[in-house]
């Protein structure tokens, strides 16, 4: 197994680069990061549409989220590959279709996370802000969202891990991310499929496991802050009652 890694690490890491486009693990990470960056603002907008009392915003947003949640990712990828060129007017690369799919998929799932985060802020916060004369918009921007987004950081990291796993679907439309690259190596070697795919599985495992642990650490930190055990400047707060537990 180690010879396989030694001989093919470059292809696994960066695909055909520099002879071709960037691929492999590098492309997987680019797809994930780009997907999250674009999907996140969309998900916040979707979340507000879903909690909005205006039916014209609420209903389309709800329909979108339910459709995306009800379809397998493979179907969405094929729809994207078919529809995006039609909408844009020219043919698109697999990369573009994949990014569009991932963004919509993530935005729908993330919007549920954001919505839960917003609704978890106690009603009293909104009442206090409105009693001071702050408008709905100001209340959301200055009081609810800062708290909700901070509380959501562990969930965001978990969604990022999901996104990394979802990029593997690029295999189906020949996008050169790490799963596809591993398959290419397998077709070259032919005699050691178990080793090749085991390396692939281990790579994902190490990457996602580390990030999941990071999410758990973040969860501990934000829960501590919420309970007032840690001041926002990062110092420890000595609370004799809570520390004795």
């Amino acid at each position: 197994m180690f010879e396989i890694i030694a001989n093919n690490w470059q292809q696994l890491l960066v695909g055909q680069y520099p002879q071709g486009a960037l691929g492999g693990l590098a492309l997987t990470m680019i797809l994930s990061v780009l997907g999250l960056i674009i999907a996140f603002p969309l998900s916040v907008v979707l979340a507000f549409c879903r909690i909005s009392p205006y039916k014209v915003l609420n209903i389309p947003a709800t329909i979108l989220v339910y459709v995306v949640r009800g379809l397998p990712l493979v179907m969405l990828v094929f729809w994207s590959y078919f529809l995006v060129p039609v909408l844009v007017g020219q043919s698109v690369s697999g990369f573009t279709a994949l990014i569009c799919t991932l963004v919509i998929y993530e935005a729908a799932y993330l919007s549920e996370v954001v919505r839960a985060g917003i609704q978890s802020i106690p009603e009293g916060q909104v009442e206090a802000a409105r009693s001071l004369g702050m408008s709905y918009r100001k209340t959301m921007l200055k009081v609810v969202l800062p708290q909700a987004l901070y509380n959501m950081v562990p969930s965001l990291i978990s969604q990022f891990v999901s996104l990394i796993k979802e990029t593997s679907i690029g295999y189906v439309i020949s996008v050169q991310e790490i799963t596809f690259s591993a398959n290419q190596i397998n077709t070259q070697l032919l005699t050691k499929p178990f080793e090749v795919f085991a390396i692939l599985a281990l790579t994902y495992y190490i990457l996602c496991f580390c990030l999941t642990q990071f999410a758990k650490w973040a969860e501990r930190r934000t829960t501590q802050k919420r309970l007032g055990l840690r001041s926002p400047k990062g110092g420890e707060l000595n609370d004799p009652v809570l520390e004795s537990q």
Partner: protein
Amino acid sequence: MIQFSKVNKWYGEYQALVEVTAAVAQGEVVVVCGPSGSGKSTLIRTVNRLEEIQKGSIYLNGQDIHAKGLDLNAFRTQVGFVFQQFNLFPHLSVVENICLAPLTVRQQSKAEARSKAMALLERVGLAHKAEAYPQQLSGGQQQRVAIARALAMDPPVMLFDEPTSALDPEMVGEVLAVMKELAREGMTMVCVTHEMNFAREVADRIWFMDKGAILEEAKPAVFFSAPEHPRAQAFISDLRNH
């Protein structure tokens, strides 16, 4: 200052407020008391429209608070509200909590808002905690900050919804002290509270409520010695027996 005129409110089938008609004059301190579920909190929450009413009207300074075209946010800056659960903003420091509304609603300059906030913190005795965060303060300190936050908008009226009910007994005194000081300075106040000593000392009038209606309105001296309504009499004798 505040006028309730035949105010009625229902939660579905349940009537929470029944034909409430009363008035609070400028500079007056009114304490609202009564058993649980009598509608006391609901009544004061209707004044800044945290609760809406189905029948009747409420006037603040002669202005109908349900008038069409009323700017709700601007209206609310005229009514200070202090919550039982304090509801301080945990992601902001104490001084930022107080400055938030003046900065974002009144568009004051940072320097102006801050100096006002520090002055208010002096008044409630917490200037040394300006940069602390709410989680680092005791309950009594948090409530005092909440009072300062409400005062920062210079409202002509202050409403208190059981301000000391969520506090440990030893912290009740410091909050009541702030409220007494406010009353002495001539603030128009309506307080829902169970603190009868506070009512005796500071209130100009006491409203006794039960089952959504104001059953008795009297000066404290009269109310505590010789209440007229039988429910009020029962309430007072229960108090004495504890």
